[in-house]
């Protein structure tokens, strides 16, 4: 390795810039900077609220629910009796109602949401995309209680006057649609839930579809596929895991929805086959009865309902997030405050 340093150095004498830094040529003691440590400590403290909050919620629910858990054990989940007078509590109708209403909502919402997502990403003209996206966001912004008001005074009368007779005419022979339509019913609950979760499933599905590389579609088109065939055969299968995740996130939302549901579902502790019958969900039960809970055991039972609801929802959401992350690689897909 050869190193040469010139024997002559140009002695350039120029005025230095007005010195604004405190640096001088000689070594000097350097200041200690604490800002970074303070900043990191402060932010870490703020960030710890989330794990602590989760622990607090689970602990609090479990502790408050303990008397009920202790008394009823697992029978809580399959007993249908809910009798505050005799202090016997079984949450089966609520759990049943939660699952049925949510599933019904999914059956209705998934085609609609996928329609929105596919239309926006594949077929809609460019100028239409932002407006429609905005409208879908607005649907998500409508408060639950407003959906509830609309459900009581518009949806249910329409269902009663037009939809129910029509459905009964076609499907009345099935156990799902027989009997009198009371208005406040599982059907109304499912429909309103469907409208409410469409924007969530649609938004996340759309992001999933956008994350599918363009090359997938192009390869299919290059092979001579029609536009629809390219979507159905190449794009959708690629994003399948993410879309399932989106649907599950929608399910998670439906499971926990409270106000609109309690306003239209009838709030009756009953397991019925017919969707025309009133029903109940866990969230609706808590909302309705928490203030009325007269005894400690009643309250504890409601806390147990809350715990069950929390565990189910968290489980569904966690699983759904993992699915969505697989396709969208850890970005905040679907975490926008939609």
């Amino acid at each position: 390795m050869s190193t040469t340093i010139p024997q002559t150095m140009s002695q350039a004498t120029v005025e230095p810039i007005v010195p604004v830094s405190t640096v001088s040529a000689a070594p000097r003691p350097t200041r200690r900077y604490y800002g970074d440590r303070v900043y990191k400590g402060l932010l870490t403290g703020l960030a710890l609220t989330l794990p602590l909050l989760l622990v607090a919620i689970v602990t609090e629910l479990a502790v408050s629910a303990w008397p009920s858990i202790h008394k009823f054990g697992f029978s809580f989940i399959w007993t249908s009796v809910w009798d505050p007078v005799n202090e016997v509590y079984g949450a089966a109708p609520m759990i049943f109602g939660t699952l049925v209403s949510s599933l019904l909502a999914l059956v209705i919402a998934v085609p609609l949401s996928l329609g929105v997502a596919i239309f926006l990403t594949e077929f809609a003209p460019r100028w239409l995309r932002q407006p429609i996206g905005f409208l879908v966001e607005l649907l998500a912004a409508i408060p639950s209680v407003v959906y509830g008001v609309w459900g009581i005074y518009v949806l249910i009368p329409v269902l009663r006057s037009y939809a129910a007779p029509a459905i009964r005419a076609v499907l009345g022979w099935t156990p799902f649609f027989n009997g009198i339509f009371y208005g406040n019913s599982m059907l109304a609950g499912g429909i309103i839930l469907a409208i409410m979760i469409v924007p969530y499933i649609a938004a996340i599905s759309r992001e999933v579809l956008l994350a599918v590389p363009a090359t997938q579609r192009e390869a299919a088109l290059g092979l001579g596929a029609t536009r629809w065939e390219a979507v159905w055969g190449a794009v959708l299968p690629y994003g399948r895991a993410g879309i399932i995740g989106a649907v599950m996130l929608g399910l998670g939302r439906a499971l926990g929805e409270t106000m609109a549901v309690t306003m239209v579902i009838g709030n009756r502790h009953d397991i019925a086959m017919s969707l025309f019958q009133p029903g109940y969900t866990m969230a609706a039960a808590i909302a309705n009865e928490f203030s009325e809970a007269t005894s400690a055991m009643y309250l504890s039972a409601l806390f147990e309902v809350g715990l069950v609801l929390f565990v189910i929802t968290v489980g569904v959401n966690a699983f759904a997030r993992l699915l969505v992350w697989r396709v969208a690689r850890g970005t905040a897909v679907g975490s926008k405050a939609l």
Partner: protein, 256 residues
């Protein structure tokens, strides 16, 4: 002793690693005061990593660490008690892609490095900003729109703005990491002219892919290969009669 004051910045057996991977091996390289030293070599030879050790940016990368010394005016910048933040205020850097701060005006961009050092009277800041922009050959083009958005400038202008930003705090050394890589020929030429002018005030180290650029702009050239310093010498000499066969092979285009 005469050598001491001539050399402003010097590395002594500097090695840079990512985790267990050695990227730069035991490089001892002096940078004489008020000269331009170009660092050339094929892709992946460690040039940029080496450069980033000179202002302690390498340690900010995931898993990045180094051994050896980097001596600036007699003080090892990796020594105990030396804050990296202070080092970066004495050793400025311009990157491959122009990175003006998008939410700040041209004026604020240039002044950005000044404000970290505490409050400066308004008049003094105005003067400093003007001098920095003049040094970067940008003053005439932007003097009427100092409050305008920095991102409205062209690519070449943005890069000169980054140079102005880097020189405004009066650093001692200026590091340029392939500064003309994303510029058109006109922009490239202006940056090269800048180098020649600026060496009167600063010691300049420029990493470049472009051998002709190194030949045009630098007093000394160092050839890196596979993380090692293969040869360093006066530019003229290195390009016409290199000592090492590897250097000759690279310069004549047999690989790279």
């Amino acid at each position: 002793m005469a050598t001491e004051t001539l050399v402003q910045l010097e590395t002594r057996r500097l090695s840079a690693l990512f985790g267990r991977n050695v990227i730069v091996r035991e490089v001892s390289l002096p940078f004489p005061r008020h000269t331009v030293t170009a660092i050339i070599g094929p892709s992946g030879c460690g040039k940029s990593t080496f450069l980033r050790c000179l202002n302690r940016m390498h340690e900010l990368s995931e898993g990045g660490w180094s051994t050896g010394q980097v001596v600036l005016d007699g003080q090892d910048i990796y020594g105990g008690g030396v804050e990296a933040v202070d080092v970066r205020r004495r050793v400025g850097m311009v990157f491959q892609r122009p990175t003006p701060f998008p939410t700040m005006s041209i004026y604020d961009n240039v002044a950005a490095g000044l404000r970290v050092n505490g409050r400066i009277p308004r008049g003094q800041m105005d003067e400093t900003v003007e001098r920095a922009l003049r040094q970067a050959f940008l003053w005439d083009e932007v003097k009427d729109r100092l409050r305008g958005s920095a991102v409205a400038l062209s690519g070449g202008q943005q890069q000169r703005l980054c140079v102005a930003r880097a020189v405004a705090p009066a650093p001692e050394v200026l590091l340029l990491d392939e500064p003309t890589a994303s510029l058109d020929p006109a922009g490239t030429q202006r940056i090269e002219e800048l180098c020649t002018e600026l060496k009167a005030r600063y010691t300049i180290v420029i990493v470049t892919h472009n051998m002709q650029q190194a030949a045009r702009v630098s007093d000394f050239t160092a050839f890196f290969y596979m993380g090692r310093l293969v040869e360093v010498g006066e530019t003229q000499q290195l390009f016409t009669k290199p000592n090492d066969p590897q250097t000759e092979a690279y310069i004549t285009g047999r690989f790279g």
